[in-house]
């Protein structure tokens, strides 16, 4: 139930005082509300939970964390397999 999935905003619309977007998740596009992420724009990634975006994915942070992790993985390849 607490699942939230990252998706990319492809278009934004406003109706009846509420802001919503079409959001792409892999091959699927779904409508979701942007009421809680007023700063989110087309091209941004947002975490979507039960039809509401609850955060804008911090791409810079994600990139940095991932690079750190990648380096760890890459480092491992240069080392012999440990016996476990």
């Amino acid at each position: 139930m607490c699942l939230a999935i990252p998706g990319k905003i492809v278009s934004v619309e406003e109706a009846n005082g509420l802001r919503s977007a079409r959001i792409q998740f892999g091959g699927i596009v779904r409508q979701a509300s942007l009421d809680f992420v007023p700063e989110a724009q087309v091209g941004d990634y947002v975490m979507v939970h039960v039809g509401y975006a609850i955060s804008r994915v911090d791409a810079a942070e994600a990139e940095r964390t991932y690079q750190l992790l990648e380096e760890m993985g890459a480092l491992e390849e240069e080392l012999p397999e440990s016996s476990d």
Binding site: M1, C2, L3, A4, I5, P6, K8, F25, G26, S33, D35, F36, V37, P38, Y45, M47, H49, V50, G51, Y52, I54, S55, V57, D58, A59, E61, A62, T65, Y66, L69, E70, M72, G73, L75, E76, E77, S82, D84
Partner: protein, 370 residues
């Protein structure tokens, strides 16, 4: 999918597991709070690639599992009213009430509709002005803003035929209750990343201070969880206890302030009963007086007698991390997802269901190592 696939990278997962092993000198008991995290751990066999000294116990973070029996009974009773449409998240349909479940009520002719989002409940209410639409609004902090929006929209638009049957639970008071029990073995917590996406993580600082226990906010993918375990182990081995944030791509210290505002506008903090666990002070949300007209508990006069849980079901112990699902005598024999005795066998986030799907056979292969 971006921001998803890379956190399922087996190579990085294995490296992180080795890093954990290199940093572990003694036994540690860690708990992941959220059932979504339990699901990932079982699905990818993360517990099996971690060193033996690290024991992962599973927490109560399954909203479907902890929704009180009385609430399920009320939902079923309301659904059976001829002028009511009951709208629910799909996971709730097979959760056993005292004598029945919503799925059976539907088969008996009740108008039960499954919604993916609370906004669908609002739409159904607009489209059916002659019916009373009751939305079964359950969840943790993650879902509270979206559920609050259903009441907020109903009030704003003067919708008179929508009400909410609310069962909302809060994570920090539950962690406090777990830590205060004499049987507690947990030495470090992985806090639920999506709860913290909404709420931030300042609330966890008091727990760290009062109980000297490290808490790391963690994500939901294998790499997230292994990194959170590594961060916890490093703190524990150094004798530290701090709040750290592994899930930086979604969680900030203050959380989503806008979402918190809507929750504060619609709900207020209240004592809350957790199925299997019992009453925990200030651990839930109920509709505030300003939203009394949208509160199914106040609109419908329901006095129901609930039966007890089946004696065999040890879900109370499972939800507190004191026992594993496989310790239950009914597990996979008399209790299966098709015929569940207890709620943790129903939801995909329930620990019993996760064990059933991924760990029925002893010695299952380590899935991430392929």
């Amino acid at each position: 999918m971006k921001f998803l696939d890379e956190y399922r990278d087996a190579r990085i997962a294995r490296t992180l597991a080795k890093e954990v092993a290199a940093n572990t000198t003694r036994d540690w008991v860690l708990m992941e709070i959220c059932g979504g995290q339990t699901h990932t751990i079982m699905r990818y066999g993360l517990d099996e690639i971690l060193p033996k000294q690290i024991e992962l116990v599973h927490g109560p973070g399954c909203p479907v599992c902890v929704t009180p029996l009385e609430t399920i009974d009320k939902a079923i009773a309301l659904a059976l009213h001829p002028d009511v449409i009951l709208v629910s998240y799909g996971d709730m349909l097979r959760v056993p009430g005292s004598n029945s479940d919503l799925f059976r009520a539907k088969a008996e002719g009740a108008d039960v509709r499954v919604a993916y989002s609370p906004s669908e409940a609002v739409k159904i209410a607009r489209a059916n002005p002659d019916k009373k639409v009751v939305f079964l609004a359950i969840g943790f902090e993650t879902t509270a803003p979206a559920n609050a929006m259903a009441a907020w929209l109903a009030k704003r638009d003067g919708l008179k035929n929508l009400s909410l049957l609310v069962s909302h639970v809060l994570v920090p008071p539950a962690i406090r209750a777990l830590l205060a029990t004499p049987e507690n073995r947990v030495q470090g917590f992985i806090a639920p990343g999506h709860v913290c996406t909404v709420m931030g993580y300042s609330e966890y600082e008091g727990l760290v201070r009062d109980f000297n226990v490290p808490i790391v906010v963690g994500g939901f993918e294998p790499v997230d969880l292994l990194e959170a375990v590594l961060m916890l182990v490093k703190q524990l081995e150094r004798g530290e206890a701090r709040v750290e944030n592994q899930y930086v791509r979604s969680v900030t210290y203050q959380g989503n302030v806008r979402a918190q505002e809507v929750v504060r506008e619609v709900f207020e903090i209240a004592d809350q009963k957790w199925r299997g666990i019992g009453m925990i002070p200030n651990s839930g949300l109920r509709l505030s007086d300003a939203y009394a007209d949208y509160d199914a508990n106040r609109i419908f006069d329901l006095d129901l007698i609930s039966a007890d849980e089946p004696a065999e079901c040890i879900s109370a112990k499972v939800l507190q991390g004191l026992r594993k699902p496989t310790d239950c005598p009914a597990f996979a024999i008399r209790c299966t997802p098709e015929n569940p005795l207890g709620a943790p066998m129903v939801s995909s986030e329930g620990a019993c269901a996760a064990y059933y799907h991924y760990r029925r056979h002893a010695g299952s292969l380590t899935k991430i190592a392929v």
